[in-house]
């Protein structure tokens, strides 16, 4: 596998790791604190395909030796090598042990229950999922409420997996356990933490 990895993996990290990762973290924190808000992470990193730029930036800012990464796609060699080179994060196939998981577009929601949802004593030990979508604004309207949302927030991502809303509903029912999810598209993302309740209109 390593033999086929291109030299691309050595490039595209933060040109200023201290301020670059701070900028991305603050944007992700803003997204998590305000579920449903579309947040642009900018172009501080250039991750190899098929990693969405936003997913690459989130992981470059937050992953390291302590956070096993899981890739759902098979064609992830470049992306995995890029992340390991820039962050030191180990790649794992063990979903229950992954701190972050990069899903494929239209990932099968039925398999998401393999990811860590934490334990009653440590609900924080759960996977953060990064789900690529086609677009964050032109899809069917979903209404959100929960912490971080004053009354209700609308999102309209396009290209969601089959059964997305009900899978997220099941996840919310597990609270305080559950995974947290980021919808990524281009350099933008929307956070859907486990507390967010989603209603199809």
């Amino acid at each position: 596998m390593t033999a086929q990895v291109s030299t691309q993996i050595y490039e595209g990290g933060f040109s200023d790791p201290v301020f670059g990762s701070q900028t991305v973290f603050r944007a992700v924190m803003d997204a998590m604190a305000n579920p449903g808000r579309v947040i642009d992470l900018g172009q501080l990193t250039q991750a190899p395909a098929p990693l969405e730029p936003a997913a690459g930036a989130v992981l470059a800012a937050l992953a390291d030796y302590d956070t096993p990464l899981c890739f759902e796609a098979q064609n992830n060699a470049d992306a995995a090598a890029w992340l390991t080179f820039h962050t030191g994060a180990p790649v794992t196939a063990d979903r229950a042990n992954a701190a972050f998981a990069v899903l494929v577009s239209r990932s099968a929601v039925g398999t998401w229950s393999d990811f860590a949802i934490g334990t009653s004593s440590f609900p924080d030990r759960s996977t953060t999922l990064l789900l690529p979508v086609e677009d964050l604004r032109s899809g069917k309207r979903l209404t959100l409420n929960g912490p971080g949302i004053e009354h209700a927030a609308d999102i309209a991502p396009a290209g969601l997996p089959e059964g997305f809303a009900s899978a997220m509903g099941e996840n919310a029912k597990l609270f305080p356990l559950g995974f947290d999810l980021l919808l990524v598209c281009g350099s933008e993302l929307i956070a859907l933490p486990r507390t967010t309740r989603i209603m199809e209109n």
Partner: protein, 305 residues
């Protein structure tokens, strides 16, 4: 070690990047599980445990070069520890600082929430000594962790009710426990219960850091925060009869200042920015002489900064 070549050099905002990443991940999980205390590998900081090491680590991990930082202790910007922490960040992060609540993007606090309502986009970072609300009922972490897991909070209600039986009141006046999103009982840090209602559905993001106890927790904006109480003994905040002697403010938290040894006392705003802003707007309390002497008093407070 020889000479100055090995003298310490520190990263932006003091903490190394790996530590910041670890704390940032803890903050994100804390936001995803409001009121739950996320364990984190707290670092030794260059100020003592108890001085705000948890708040400092949270602020250091969140802070960027464009932020404007305000630090208060007991509501005041000019208390020694607030001055010291503000100077620390001005030095290690070269960040802009302010005493104005409305100008700050990040406010680190010990024991108070500003009187001026916070706005969306602002971050309030609390310094927390004992993050576990059940700690004084059950000293063991192994036990309290299970109690949170099972949502077993009966002991807390028993304690509050025993107060009522004994004193006719709930005898908790600060660090008054709250329930978050109807799930976790949370310690609001030792703010007076006067400030508890400000936590409920605040548009600001509230982050809590406990360094010695190695816990981070959070309240996202617009989160339900309810002070524990009973139907026949509803939660109520402190009410002061007095107005601020400097700015005449009512319905604010007041510090009692002993003026002599014969029972003389006056009350002044605990929130110095709120008080100064009101005086700038022309409000005057009864404690200020209606002469130029009054100006001397207010100027000397600012000069002490």
């Amino acid at each position: 070690m020889t000479g100055t070549d090995a003298l310490p050099a520190y990263n932006f905002a003091y903490l190394d990047e790996q530590t910041k990443r670890m704390i940032r991940r803890a903050i994100l999980k804390a936001i995803a599980i409001p009121g739950y205390q996320v364990p984190f590998a707290s670092r030794e900081m260059p100020m003592p445990y108890g001085w705000g090491t948890g708040g400092v680590q949270v602020t250091a991990s969140v802070l960027g070069p464009d932020d404007v930082l305000k630090v208060i202790d007991q509501g005041a910007d000019d208390t020694t520890n607030a001055v010291s922490i503000r100077a620390f960040f001005a030095k290690v992060a070269d960040v802009a600082t302010t005493t104005k609540t409305t100008e700050a993007t990040i406010i680190q606090t010990r024991h108070r929430i500003p009187e001026t309502p916070l706005e969306a986009g602002q971050i309030l970072v609390y310094q927390v000594p004992i993050p576990e609300p059940l700690r004084f009922l059950e000293p063991r972490e192994t036990e309290t962790r299970v109690m949170h897991g099972l949502e077993e909070y009966g002991l807390m209600h028993v304690k509050l009710y025993e107060d009522i039986a004994q004193h006719g009141h709930i005898a908790t006046t600060y660090a008054y426990p709250v329930k978050v999103e109807d799930r976790y009982v949370m310690d609001p840090s030792p703010v007076p219960k006067f400030d508890n209602p400000k936590m409920h559905c605040s548009p600001a993001l509230q982050l809590f850091g406990a360094g010695r106890e190695k816990r981070i927790y959070a309240l996202p904006p617009f989160t339900d925060v309810v002070s524990l109480d009973f139907e026949d003994h509803p939660f109520a905040i402190q009410r002061f009869e007095a107005h601020c002697a400097l700015c005449d403010a009512r319905n604010v938290y007041l510090d009692e200042v002993v003026t002599d040894d014969r029972g003389g006392r006056m009350f002044v705003c605990s929130d110095t920015d709120h008080c100064e802003t009101r005086r700038t707007e022309g409000h005057r309390g009864t404690g200020l002489p209606q002469t130029e002497g009054g100006e001397t008093a207010s100027t000397s407070r600012e000069a002490a900064e």
